[in-house]
């Protein structure tokens, strides 16, 4: 699903530099990425989703050379193939839960909204346990409910790849387990691939594979 080779990324200025000689994620795999802050975990997700482009190297997602796509193509690729779950949920306070879940459909022509999509959004919310809160404004939700809504938003376009950037980082222990359960269940139901950045070592055993980013920076990954 994801194949990275000799990838180098750095900003035009500053000392940060990410070098990944080889990195692969298989289709349907649930992989966790760990590492200290500033090691480049979030940058990796941004590179895979085409939000950022590498300076050098190859980055293939589902046989598409993401690093060779133009701006618009990368955006369309991202919309069509990737579901992003952000650490801080990134819901829009001025929209209710249903509008937040449907938001990607309203801001891009690459996704077409119809009655079926709306019904799917409602079913997904119900499955995630927030079916009765569809009309509630995002700022009135609990942390757990916000993350569930954010996961629904990421899953609604039925992406092949789900990128989760510390999706459980802001949650209490009980909610962490519940959210991860929901995320895993949805990933399995949609036959998607999951790449999750996490600091939570207790949850690592539930992933198929764990990659420590310290090894890309010459740190001790033992």
């Amino acid at each position: 699903m994801i194949h990275i080779e000799s990838l180098i990324f750095h900003y035009p200025s500053g000392e940060f530099r990410l070098e990944i000689p080889a990195f692969t994620v298989a289709r349907g795999e649930k992989m966790a990425v760990i590492g200290p802050s500033g090691s480049g975990k979030t940058t990796l997700l941004n590179l895979i989703s085409g939000i950022m482009t590498p300076v050098k190297g190859t980055l293939n997602v589902d046989n598409i050379k993401v690093n060779e796509l133009g701006d618009t193509e990368r955006r369309v690729f991202r919309i069509s193939n990737i579901g992003f779950v952000f650490q801080d949920f990134e819901l829009l306070d001025y929209l209710n839960v249903l509008d937040n879940i449907l938001h990607p459909y309203r801001i891009t022509s690459a996704l077409k909204m119809d009655r079926v999509v709306k019904q799917r959004a409602m079913a997904l919310a119900k499955e995630m346990g927030i079916g009765d809160k569809l009309r509630r404004m995002a700022n009135k939700l609990s942390q757990g409910e916000k993350q569930r809504a954010a996961i629904c938003r990421a899953l609604l376009p039925q992406p092949k790849l789900i990128l989760a950037d510390e999706a459980t980082g802001n949650l209490d222990p009980d909610n962490k387990v519940l959210i991860l359960d929901s995320l895993f269940r949805a990933v399995e139901e949609q036959d998607a691939t999951l790449l999750a950045v996490t600091h939570d070592h207790e949850l690592l055993k539930r992933f198929d594979r764990v990659v420590d980013f310290r090894k890309f920076q010459g740190m001790d990954a033992s």
Binding site: S49, I51, F86, H103, R106, T108
Partner: protein
Amino acid sequence: MIDSLYIAWKYIRFNKARTVTLIACITLIGFLPVSLELLLDESEQQLMSRAATTPLVVGAKGSSLDLVMNTLYFGDEVPELITMAASDRVMQTDLALPIPVYVRFRARGHPIVGTTLDYFEFRGLKVAEGQQMAVLGDCVVGAGAAEKLRLKPGDELVSSPENMFDLAGIYPLKMKVTGVLKKSHTPDDLAVFVDLKTAWVIQGLGHGHQDVTVLKDPTLVLKRTEDNVAATAKLYHYMEITDENINSFHFHGHMTGYPVTAVIAAPYDAKSGTILQGRYLSKEERHQIVEPEEVIDGLLQNIFRIKNVLDAVISVVALATVMAIILVFALSIRLRQREMETVFKLGCSRMTMARLVASEILLIVVASGLLCTGMVLLVDQFSNDLVRTLFIR
């Protein structure tokens, strides 16, 4: 586009305080100059049309503006009084028809205009309901006054005391409404017309006497004997002219010495008007004769000079407000940087983002435009009354 408008609508609805402030600012930018223009046009039209139909006004020397505003628009400022002799003087010249007016008293906020029947003919005023005033104490009311005071023929209207603390001064008179005039869209609509003599009764120059021997109210009688009745000093709330006491009403002295505020002079022709004006040029002359059109024209020139200053002030304020609004939007975009990054990560193009912001601006501008139009239409609807309240009273 519809999705952009939908999201924009949700955003501006969520940020109510900011939206209301912006809409209020933009609305005021549009509303102030337009409504001011509208009111000035209306006031110009009202003032000039009335002035154009009143050829000459004779009054005491002093402010010609107060004289014209009081005589034509029944303004609050009462000019120095003249006497009926001024009216007789115009009559004796045989150059113009004199119409004396006495605009000094009020009834529930509406001016009481003491005049003669010539006034109604001169202004083209017709009675729509009831009949013209016939006897002392009768009044006819303008259509607007009748509507506001809910008066119809047969009702009664009490004049207002001139001074609440002067109990021995102007005493309220209960007048009988005999008719309501047709709407004329002039200050006459809001006036209460009485005969000059009724106005003088209000002033206390004419009065009646009560026959204390037939008083039925025991509180009015102090002592009653076979050959004498002593009345109490009981205070009446108002005077009333009835069929029973009308004959007791009388005036002392000669009426040429009775007061009026002005005399409208309607010359028989242009030449007569010029000659009549010439009669008032002497330095010893105690009266002045003015052409209302000239006086109002002078007033309007001043108003328009002030309006030019106001326009300049409004322009500067509008410019500052527009800049503040641009700043608000710019700061808002900066504050929403994180939200925009999220939306960008979700797949939104920069063009769509620009469209979202543009939709918000569009909705706010459209809402302001609609509000501004509504307010301007409202001002337009009531401009007639507003002008009278704001500029003419």
